[in-house]
Symmetry: C2
Subunit: 304 residues, 2 copies
């Protein structure tokens, strides 16, 4: 298992097809599991892809079109039936709370675990969750309903001290924490050893941005600048660009343009309209604008 990877559970827009399911992804960062959107059938897709249900502690729902959340109630109930006691946090536009509560009420279900609901302000770019290693930000998107993308970033880590240098300069244990935090070290002879000589080079911090659903909107570019992997919806191809605009969706070309403007390292296209069978044309239309691009495959895990 890599330190940072995303598994695609669904890649269809609006309605499932013979081969594609509605939006859902599981992101794993340093052993933390995040569920991003939860279309109908997500728990079935999770079983097929051997995702461990109880490892998920945070769920991020972008907006309240059914293809992004209709699998959530079933997943919540299954976690309950499986005996979960660990709290589950949900981040979503606010009406989802009412939708979940009314269903729990009418099924007379009292969950065995705390369900913690966190309302997202879909108009702001804010830090919405963090622990000691990972932070998550909202990305305001422009769609027909209030909608938020999500930016997942590794946090700055302590430096890793070189063992050979510990021996060479006889560094006492009491000094190690300061070196990890970036300090130089002064030996008992008064020699100052610069920090960079004592530690391994920093590994770059990784990041993943999820942008679905949205019309072509360059105002998100500074928020997703330089991310390692960008998932951007591309519901349509150029032939249907008018339909994309009307329905507040993007084309493959527009997603590639955003990827180029933000100078991201890699682009994944997804959220395909059910009208398209073969997806090659999405790549053909994206490639002139951005080279490192793929159409997502359900069941595939992408390393970041």
């Amino acid at each position: 298992m890599a330190d940072f990877e995303v598994t695609i559970l669904g890649s269809s827009s609006a309605t499932p097809t013979f081969t594609r399911n509605p939006s859902a992804q599981v992101l794993q960062i340093l052993g933390r599991y995040f569920l991003i959107d939860c279309g109908e059938g997500t728990q079935i897709q999770m079983r097929k892809n051997r995702v461990k249900f109880q490892k998920i502690n945070q769920i991020f729902i972008s907006h309240l079109h059914g293809d992004h959340y209709l699998g959530l109630m079933g997943f919540i109930q299954t976690l309950h039936l499986l005996g979960r006691t660990t709290p589950l946090e949900i981040f979503s536009p606010s009406p989802l709370k009412e939708i979940l509560e009314i269903q729990l009420k009418h099924s007379e279900t009292t969950l065995r675990y705390p369900l913690i609901f966190n309302e997202i302000d879909t108009t702001s770019h804010l830090k919405i969750w963090e622990d000691n290693c990972v932070e998550v930000y909202s990305i305001p998107l422009k769609h027909r309903l209030p909608c938020s993308g999500f930016l997942f970033k590794e946090k700055e880590k302590l430096l890793s001290v070189r063992k050979d240098m510990l021996a060479e300069y006889k560094i006492p244990i009491a000094s190690i924490q300061a070196i990890k935090e970036g300090s130089d070290f002064t030996t008992s002879f008064g020699q100052v050893i610069p920090n960079y000589k004592l530690v391994h080079p920093k590994t770059p911090l990784k990041s993943y941005a999820y942008c679905s659903d949205t019309i072509f909107d360059p105002t998100i570019v500074p928020l997703i600048s330089e991310v390692n992997l960008l998932y951007h919806e591309s519901t349509f191809i150029n032939e249907h660009s008018t339909r994309a605009k009307e329905t507040f969706h993007s084309t493959a070309e527009q997603a590639a343009t955003i990827a180029k403007m933000a100078n991201v390292k890699k682009l994944l296209l997804g959220h395909f309209s059910a009208r398209y069978g073969n997806l090659d044309i999405f790549i053909q239309e994206a490639l002139p604008h951005f080279q490192n691009v793929e159409t997502v495959e359900e069941g595939k895990t992408y390393l970041i």
Copy 2:
């Protein structure tokens, strides 16, 4: 296509498994298509089994545990996206209306077709729908939530007149309707030809009863007496009969006992707890009580 057949889309209780989906069935009677329960993933199962979505005009929901209705909102939205204009009737315990309306409101969806909601009185055995060929009755079931089974019956048909007799007795067109309705015919010579000589023998009227979810409850026996096919839940086997009682479910033996008491022609067992892999034991425990029994297979169509 037979005149009366049921296709099983889901056979799991509570939560989907690797191989089983939550409750849903499509019943076809003389070209009418009825959806019975609609667990998560029903529309995906319908696609796999080539069920034509728009042919369904009535949906019957037994109760409001998620495994019996969580696929309904997605199906309703897909019908809308596919351009449906024909009314869709839903029969269910009343809170479902509120659950659907709140989700339509928050997704800002105005359906292109009329959604007609009919509340079921889960305490009474009542005719809840009919047309010229079929009638549907509620079956009060005893479960943890208000719950109704459904009885589908062919209506008495007009008799089918023998063409050879029309010629033999020179029967005028004006007299045919009366013969179809059971009258004798008097020839121009005053000879009375009894009706039974003029018509084909009656074909017996067929019926199907769906009983899920319910504790063992012999009070339903007179309501499902002599049906051609009974689907009865058997969530558990005898080893877990205490659990069955606690959760208001039935065992295979109890389902078979109901089938025997009601003198039905055939019994289908379904709604299996996720704890069971191989289902042979359900048959073993049912057989001593009722011979013509099967465990349902998803994707299989049973002729009635």
